[in-house]
Amino acid sequence: MMHSGHRVRKLGWARLDHRQPALLDFRGVSAIITVVGAVVMAATPLSASAAIDVSPLDCAGANACRIQSVYAVVFWMAMFVLAVVGGLLVYAAIRFRRRDETEPAQIHGNSRLEVAWTVFPLVVLLAIFTLTFTNMDYVRNGPPGPITITVTGQQFAWTYKYPNGFVAGTLTIPAGEVIRLDVTSRDVLHSFWAPRLGGQVYALPGQMNHGWLEADHPGTYYGQCNELCGIGHAEMQVKVVVMSKAAYDQWYAGLKAAVFAPAARI
């Protein structure tokens, strides 16, 4: 925690503590329902592999967590609107059922009311707009970072090229550092996405898109291509291995020899 607190301040991002539990954690909900629906699930051939979590709500880095914090506010505003308007609708639908054959009052409209409910959504939307707008520079452009990695999509794999020329099929990064991504494609459109670490960035042939991500803790994070790119689209996985800074530095230093090994180049 201390490590993370330090890092948060370093990024000038003390306002939002992303370490709060996700406001709407569906894994919790599904766990409960899974118990209830055990009979149904018993028939399901569960995979033996380790649980892989790719929920953007379960953010594990500065970019994803900033987005998650925006999402959380939008979520509660949306729930408020849904509860009020949906509630009134259901109430009216039940309350005003036909009881007798008398014709109800023929009301054609009410200018004041109509102005009120033109302004009401405007206010809600203005709030969401302001919230989003003030966060966009951070989410999109991010803080400067020491490492830039070129991400190239091709049917149906990702490759990552490091500043020293090393190319790999797995993205290895140090924890707590901002990683700048230059994203491009060799063939069709792809979308690079590691949901727990940041928003997605399209990979376009002949064009370089820029994004960034950051991971707070060492670990392995997953994602996959998020733009239909052909027959193998579903298998175009993203794997991000996050090492401690020290371990990464050691790993990266060890790559120097590999630069000259043709086998490592694609």
Binding site: R27, A78, Q106, V188
Partner: protein, 540 residues
Amino acid sequence: MATAEIALPQRRPMRLAGVAEWLTTTDHKKIGVLYIYTTFVFFLIGGIFALLMRTQLALPFNNVLSHQLYNEILTMHGTTMIFLWIIPVFSGFGNYFVPLMIGARDMAFPRINAFSFWLIPLAGATMYSGLFLKTGSAACGWTCYTPLSEKPFAPGLGQDLWILGLHLLGLSSIMGAINFLVTIHNLRAPGMTWFRLPLFVWSVEVTQALVLLASPFLAGALAMVLMDRQLGTDFLGRGADPLLYQFIFWFYSHPAVYIMILPAFGIVSEIIPVFSRKPIFGYRAMAFSMAAIGVLGFMVFAHHMFTTGLPLALQEFFMTTTMLIAVPSGVKVLNWLATLWGGSIKYTTAMLFAVAFVLMFLVGGVDGVFMASLAVDYQLHATYWVVSHIHYVLFGGSVFGVFAGLFYWFPKLTGRYLDETLGKLQFWLQLVGFNVTFMPMHFLGLLGMPRRISVWGNRPDWELWNLVATIGAFIIATAVLLFIVNFLISIRGGRRAPADAWQGNTLEWATTSPPPPYNFETVPQVRSARPMRELRKAQV
């Protein structure tokens, strides 16, 4: 009756003559019925595609469909539901009811009308024929972005057939649009001023203006892809900006979303007042909000491209317009609510579908606002959240609107009511099935599941919701089967309906059920937005 003896041997040729009449008709009502029947068949085909996809995705590492076949079926499901079902079924309702509602004898161009219709089955057959090729049909989703749809990545003929099919549909739409607009502008009965027009006619007016202005852009984009593929040009290939196609495509396809929902707004705006026994609340606001949606609908298209790396300022512009378009949509929902408020609501099946429409559209509107927020869209773009959103709008919205319209207008089309007991059973099954299918897709999106993946595994979080969604899909299928049963029973044996089947407001109820070929014996004089109500009052 004295001729009964000789009438019997004539039955066979008579029937053939009947078929020939349907094949050659230029009567707007017959064409409307043809549209509705044909597109309903496409709805069933698209539904079977959906069930296949849900079966494949029900379990992890499932192997019902191959990657290639899944991608083809995915493409055909989207294309079918959008271009062969929702858009043309509303043309069917428009064909049948616009002339009746404005007090006209037919559409302005009856022969063009027939031609517009007959292009649709032809287009469907053209697209589907790709499925029978060795190389398969188009497999790039209904969006078919370049360069995936270009020759190097989609060498098969199926892609070309898909483009040709869409070209035929575009042609049909554009001719239909001109026909509708000319009809509404020129053939209104005396006294049918713009602000006495039924809101369904308003919705058709705005929709068809969108069709006329937007469809040529899709045709242009597709023509470029086709020329790249067949003539060796390079409009959208290697040398082009990879986003050019998307800009043109969405310049059409975002308005297309409103093309698909506005007529449903219109239908629901007819049904809710009739069964609440109140006038629509804020008629002018309802008409203006549709026009506002039509205009703003052209200015939001790049919100489909927030993650493609557009400059931030441009993204923020499109975020602003996208949020603005939520305002007229919100006004509509609240005006429907106010129409219900203080009413005397009778729950026929049509009304149940109409009220559920408002509620489901509300959900689809609210979950759309999430994606208008740029930051959130960076995570939710192209996930199952989007799948959920589009189905809340286009299924919970548009398709519920279609069923509301089918139950409401069936007595006018056939002179018989659809069975209400079966109808209500269908409604509840469909409402439950719909939400069981698509609500979990919100959760799947939040759990990071991308749309358009042909297989998934190693994601324990996704297992429950995928299974639930698949179960829901089969509940929907059961509901639709119930409708078919209801239709088959009711078309022959349903309760007979009088001319004014529901104490309606609009002119289609002034003539017999079904209406005669010439629609009205005398052209009615219109004095208010609810001419039938005036007529009933005058008779009492």
